[in-house]
């Protein structure tokens, strides 16, 4: 029995809890007898700690402990790597030696009875260093690119080098070409909720109330770090106030909170400051990309050469899908991609919404736009001429691909036909108006996941999964899946997330939660109904746990990706260079839409993220010591309400029977991908000036 709950624009089931403050976030879980820890961060960018004057600080009011590499316990740090950790290198071992690897690395923690006392003591702690100048700028000639270890095998998930045909020769022979360098600044995730962990030991058992997009991995990692069995560690995180990828990994502060709690024998609360969230909790890496396109005079692509480089730390090789989309977005016989890393004296980057794809697609979609002007072909038309029949990189068909339908729909809603093709040809009063567009793509991932369903005697149902909800509406959409499968009204379904002792789920990221966890919940609901049918009604709950994963046969036969089209209009002030996004329209082909209201909200949020990437966001490091100079919400610019114009998100009808039983392809990431090139292309159309470095700021367009 179905109730057609899937597809309904249900309001958030947790909306009331959030607006009334009933929803509890990590830092809300105060424990009795709790003390407060504050991290002391290194003030040099590379060097060694030579002295720490702990004695005067230990005597300060309320101070319980000052923990440094000198008195910290040597932690086992047993090997642990999940797919969310870089495949090569080893995580930062915190307070285990005197080395400073990057500015802001934790070098001590101060624990005190109150937060105020801990902050004052941390500010008073005098530390001396030997320091040398760190290398933090990827453009510095001293920075040497390396081949990522995990990309060396040809069958690697993110291969360092790929080729089909002979792209370089085809490029040399091409009648028309574009060959340019594109650069994207370092960005920090900057969610509203800071990273926070409350840690409490009970003998050899540890409970962590901790902001995490991946509670079962946090459990496994902390167990490995402290050398305790995983079942002794419980991670609880029912709500997340935004994350965008920064809470996928388990960062050093979680270890520090647990270490401090064990050292002082009391529960410890540790909340990062906004400034500290610019140091040790990952960032979108700076990237430098060469994108070269060769084409015939009538716009058929004959070659793509994509050479991308991303920064990483000295101790881990962070990799992202920078060059992946290039291999299948357009049809061309000759493609060569190269992906390199630049190890620098910085903390390890990590995934930030639309990771890799957002950066790579920026270069590709700006280059295609440049080609369209060179050839005098409409940018949509140019893309249509190169629309592939299959994934030419994998040499297999797409499970579904609605890219041109997305372009048609978005173009119509946007009013692309009103655009005059010449740059600098459109005005509104004295303002230069520009229209730009771009394609977007993101993989339709699917990871194995588990879920438990319980039918209660009163007819209600409970669902438990160790997944998270960082804001997209997972509580609501999963409730819809369960309600539809069980044939119950949504009010009769209670969904619980965010405990590591629930059935394990994959990381809440990569736009795979709906596919993975949704499929597991569906499987558990079917299983519990089967179980109930077998058993006599005895007034006791019926329970079933089930898992789901992608059909390996479908995965072998099809290439699975979401696609989208983004259109943007900007106005540029010809006198003072002010750039304003005036409106944007996105259309997406993402399989089945479980909840149109939440899906639209997801897209608007992603588009705003892409707007920030295009026009505002950058973390600027001082080359002398690697410090971020704008580690502050007043100085790290994100779009504010006054910047954000009318944004529209549309979905094309798409039925994909191959991706999973629910027919969903995932949505969160793709909404960011494509926005930055659409805006950059609109800025070119407005001004005639091509800016290939993000963010595009006033000083970049001043001399137009």
């Amino acid at each position: 029995m179905t109730t057609n709950v899937i597809g309904n624009p249900l309001p958030r089931v947790d909306g009331r809890a959030k607006v009334t403050g009933a929803a509890r976030y990590a830092a809300d879980f105060n424990q009795s007898g709790q003390v407060y820890a504050v991290i002391v961060a290194a003030t040099v960018g590379l060097g060694r700690v030579t002295g720490i004057e702990t004695a005067p600080v230990e005597k300060m009011p309320g101070v319980v402990a000052v923990i440094t590499h000198r008195n910290a316990p040597r932690l086992p740090y047993a090997p642990h790597k999940s797919y969310i950790d870089p495949a090569t290198g080893e995580r930062l071992h915190v307070l285990q030696d005197d080395q400073v690897r990057f500015y802001g690395q934790p070098v001590a923690i101060v624990v005190a009875d109150t937060l105020d006392q801990a902050e004052r003591a941390a500010a008073a702690l005098r530390i001396s260093y030997t320091a040398e100048r760190p290398l933090v700028d990827p453009a510095d000639p001293k920075a040497r690119p390396v081949v990522p270890e995990a990309g060396k095998q040809p069958d690697a998930r993110l291969p360092a080098d790929t080729a089909r045909g002979n792209a370089d020769r085809a490029l040399a022979d091409a009648p028309a070409k574009v060959d340019e360098i594109y650069e994207i600044a370092r960005e920090n995730h900057n969610p509203m909720e800071p990273h926070a962990t409350v840690a409490a030991w009970n003998g050899n058992r540890l409970t962590l109330w901790s902001k995490s997009q991946f509670v079962v991995n946090e459990q496994a990692e902390i167990a490995a770090v402290f050398g305790v069995p995983p079942e002794n560690v419980q991670v609880i995180c029912p709500f997340i106030g935004g994350a965008f990828g920064t809470s996928l990994r388990t960062w050093p502060h979680v270890t520090l909170a647990a270490m401090a709690a064990r050292q002082v024998g009391r529960p410890v609360k540790l909340v990062l400051t906004r400034k500290q969230m610019f140091f040790t909790t990952g960032h979108r890496p700076r990237t430098l990309q060469r994108m070269a396109l060769g084409a015939t005079a009538d716009g058929k692509l004959t070659s793509i050469v994509h050479e991308g480089t991303g920064e990483t730390s000295r101790y881990e090789e962070f990799m992202e899908a920078l060059t992946s989309v290039t291999r299948f977005l357009y049809s061309t016989p000759n493609v060569r991609t190269r992906y390199r890393l630049l190890p620098l004296d910085i903390g390890t980057p990590n995934h930030m919404r639309g990771p890799g794809e957002a950066s790579g697609v920026f270069a590709l979609e700006c280059a295609v736009d440049e080609l369209s002007y060179k050839l005098g072909i409409d940018p949509i038309d140019l893309r249509r001429r190169n629309e592939p029949a299959i994934d030419e990189g994998e040499n297999k068909p797409f499970s579904s691909r609605s890219l041109m339908k997305c372009h048609d729909l978005a173009a119509e809603r946007f009013g692309w036909s009103r655009r005059s093709p010449q740059p600098r040809s459109m005005r509104d009063g004295r303002l230069l108006v520009g229209m730009g567009m771009a394609s977007a793509s993101y993989p339709a991932f699917h990871a194995p996941a588990n879920a438990r369903a319980r039918l209660l005697p009163d007819g209600a149902a409970e669902i438990e999964v160790a997944a998270s909800d960082m804001g997209p509406g997972t509580y609501t959409s999963m409730t819809q899946v369960a309600a539809e499968t069980l044939g119950l009204p949504v009010e009769r379904v209670r969904l619980s997330l965010g405990r590591s002792d629930y059935p394990p789920a994959p990381s809440h990221g990569g736009s795979w939660t709906m596919a993975s966890v949704g499929s597991a919940i569906r499987a558990a609901c079917i299983a519990v109904q089967e179980e109930a049918a077998k058993r006599p009604r005895d007034g006791r709950p019926v329970e079933a746990t089930a898992s789901a994963q992608r059909d390996p046969d479908a995965a072998a036969r099809f290439s699975m990706h979401s696609f989208g089209a983004v259109f943007a209009e900007v106005a540029v002030d010809p006198d003072v260079g002010t750039i304003r996004l005036r409106r944007a329209v996105g259309a997406y082909g993402i399989g089945r839409v479980v909840n149109p209201r939440l899906a639209r909200s997801q897209c608007i949020g992603g588009m705003i993220g892409g707007m920030g990437m295009a026009l505002m966001e950058r973390t600027v490091l001082d080359p002398r010591d690697g410090r971020p100079v704008n580690a502050h919400m007043a100085d790290y610019l994100l779009p504010v309400n006054l910047d954000i114009p009318q944004l529209e998100a549309h979905f094309v009808e798409e039925i994909d029977p191959h991706v999973n039983a629910l027919g969903v392809k995932g949505l969160g990431e793709i909404a960011l991908v494509g926005m930055a090139p659409a805006i950059a292309n609109a800025v070119f159309h407005a001004t005639g000036k091509r800016v290939r470095s993000l963010p595009i700021r006033i000083e970049d367009v001043l001399t137009v």
Partner: protein, 325 residues
Amino acid sequence: MLPFTLEKVTSVQAAIAAASSGRRFIAGGTTLIDLMREEVERPEHLVDINTLPLSEIRIEGSDLVIGALARMADIAAHSDVQRLHPLVAESLIEGASPQLRNMASIGGNLLQRVRCPYFRMHDAPCNKRTPNSGCAAIDGLNAGHAILGTSNHCAATHPSDVAVALVALDATMQVRGPRGERSFPVEELFRLPGDTPHLEHTLLPGELILAVRVPGGPYSRRARYLKVRDRASYEFALVSAAAALEVGDGVIRQARLAVGGVGTRPWRLRTVEKALTGKAPDRKIFETAARLALEGARPLSGNHYKLELLPRTIVRALEMTGEAA
């Protein structure tokens, strides 16, 4: 945050007495509390002056008189201010964020500290925070810094928007201290950094700002504030300009012009005003005059773009004086 005492005063007299013994005033607290949390400001004793009767906003003849404790949001929303002194209203609205404008007083706005990032970093030298410790910005990241009025010791810009408007309009401030009351131009409130960048203003010990007086003139209603920045709200100016013109019989009779984001204090441009006076209010004239703003400009490694942006901002602000806000 370091411990401090907080006392309330209910009379101007008591406030002045408290300040004379070294206590610091607190009004909206939007700068002070922020900096106290970061221990850049370390006052031991604060005097809360918020209950003093200094919040009135009134018109006297053609002058606008703003009590020192009037909130930015209230001044900007005041119908007489919008009607008779639109430049003041516009410059206030362009400043800070709605939340900050609800709290911040006009007196505190004028005395706000700089936004140089190194000023807030205890692990970086800053002559303004710690005299004679050096300046991390001069050879560091300085895209937001000043090109006018700088010294080898400091190049931080004065961050206030409304101060730029007040300096352009020849506003005066009324202050009272242990030795009585005095008035002086707002422009004279601000010091150049020289070799003492930690000394920012000319108030004497114990002096309390009572009011700001903005004289009305034939140019008051043909006056605009243009703030150029990478986002639309909650960002300091890359460059801003406050411009007011009196135009009659096709020529500029009087001009008032000051700029922000480029000077170590709100920067009045009298040479540009002089070059405009007696000329037709057209773009060519504006462009020629605006070039004079760059006299004495000294860019740093990261802010050469301000040499281009400053004259463009002036030209545009002058043009805007002929357009409705």
